[in-house]
Point group: none
Chain length 224, copies 2
């Protein structure tokens, strides 16, 4: 579960944010000032820190600067919360190394979509380019397939065919559908071509991965 550290001196706001993030499935940790935030960040290594700028004792900006100096927290995402039109603070926030800026008053939907987007684009949630089913992880961005943790090299056509089948595990793909999606519509290849590629994928990833539906096509097996 992804951890988010929330820092604000107003308890109501802290609770409000924590409530909304928990509901979305995040684990929340709360701090009431900058110093506490630094301590908790060191202890918990959250994926994201949501921090108010204006706080007594130590401002969010200062806390951010300090956090950025701690090696293991250098790449922790930090988003600042600040009054809507406080342009000055926003600028300082970015200078201090903030990754995002969320306007107060906080609107739950906006907060969640920003937090999700921030984590997504930093690949913290891994949703973006990876498909994983059972023992297999397909990473399109890296162009690699992992089988039980080990990288396996697939040639391009094999990779594309696998991606197609894995894009909807359990669903049957008809032979002519496979042909047109992997080979294109104007390419003519023999009827045995698909089988041969399926065989190659099976020989690399195991026979159980892809199931033959006779007279119809193939499907990626759901369970393993």
């Amino acid at each position: 579960m992804l951890k988010i550290l929330i820092v604000d001196d107003e308890i109501d706001i802290l609770d409000f944010i924590a409530y909304n993030l928990s509901k979305e499935g995040y684990e929340t940790i709360t701090a009431k000032n900058g110093n506490e935030a630094i301590d908790l960040a060191k202890k918990h290594h959250p994926e994201l820190i949501l921090m108010d700028i204006m706080m007594p004792e130590k401002t969010g900006i200062e806390a951010c600067e300090q956090i950025r100096k701690i090696p293991e927290l250098k790449s922790t995402l930090i988003a600042f919360l600040t009054a809507l039109d406080d342009e000055q603070s926003e600028l300082k926030g970015f200078e201090a190394g903030g990754d995002e800026y969320i306007a107060k008053p906080i609107k739950p939907k906006i907060l969640l979509s920003r937090v999700n987007a921030l984590l997504r684009r930093n690949n913290v949630d891994g949703k973006s380019t990876k498909i994983s089913i059972g023992d297999i992880v397909i990473d399109k961005e890296q162009y690699v397939v992992y089988y039980k943790g080990d990288p396996v090299d697939l040639a391009r056509k094999e990779f594309e065919l696998l991606i197609l089948l894995a894009s909807k595990p359990g669903r049957v793909f008809y032979r002519n559908e496979i042909l047109s999606r992997v080979w294109g519509d104007d390419v003519f290849v023999g009827d045995r071509t698909i089988d041969v590629h399926i065989r190659k994928i099976r020989s690399k990833l195991g026979d159980e991965i892809i199931r033959t539906i006779k007279g119809v096509g193939y499907k990626f097996e759901l369970l393993s």
Copy 2:
């Protein structure tokens, strides 16, 4: 120079943004609608796309969705421009795969700090000067690469190619993407040029550093 594609149907805004970004040292490309944006993105492979949501012909959201389906543009940063309180659009923007949301009316300072921050946290900016992966340290400021502690001289194109690949270790860069990001869009060089430069980098830093994905492109190896 980092390329930014700006998309808006109002020419005044287009010019205004382009002016401010050029002043900051970015190369700007402009499009007046979603379709044009898609074409130009495919051609230029910008590091960032700044796009209005409300446009005739094709909305920014639609364009974003389409761009996200093009493999080599999947990880291109996209920031939406929208009227300050259009909460609905902002939500849709994030759903469509937008990375950032910048409120109109555009304030130059805010725009620049957001753009800088967005690029910085994605490692594509010129200001963070060092990248280190395994035995290799790349110092952009000094234009030097250290291999196991020893400085190695790379020629400029070799260096730029290495920086591109190393900016996202593990991720595949498609050949045409490499061409447009390292050589530019109006330069026509033969298809063997990339290979030869890859070879030179390998001969200086070892073969394992860069991995060939046949039929696709190259990537910087993650582990070492």
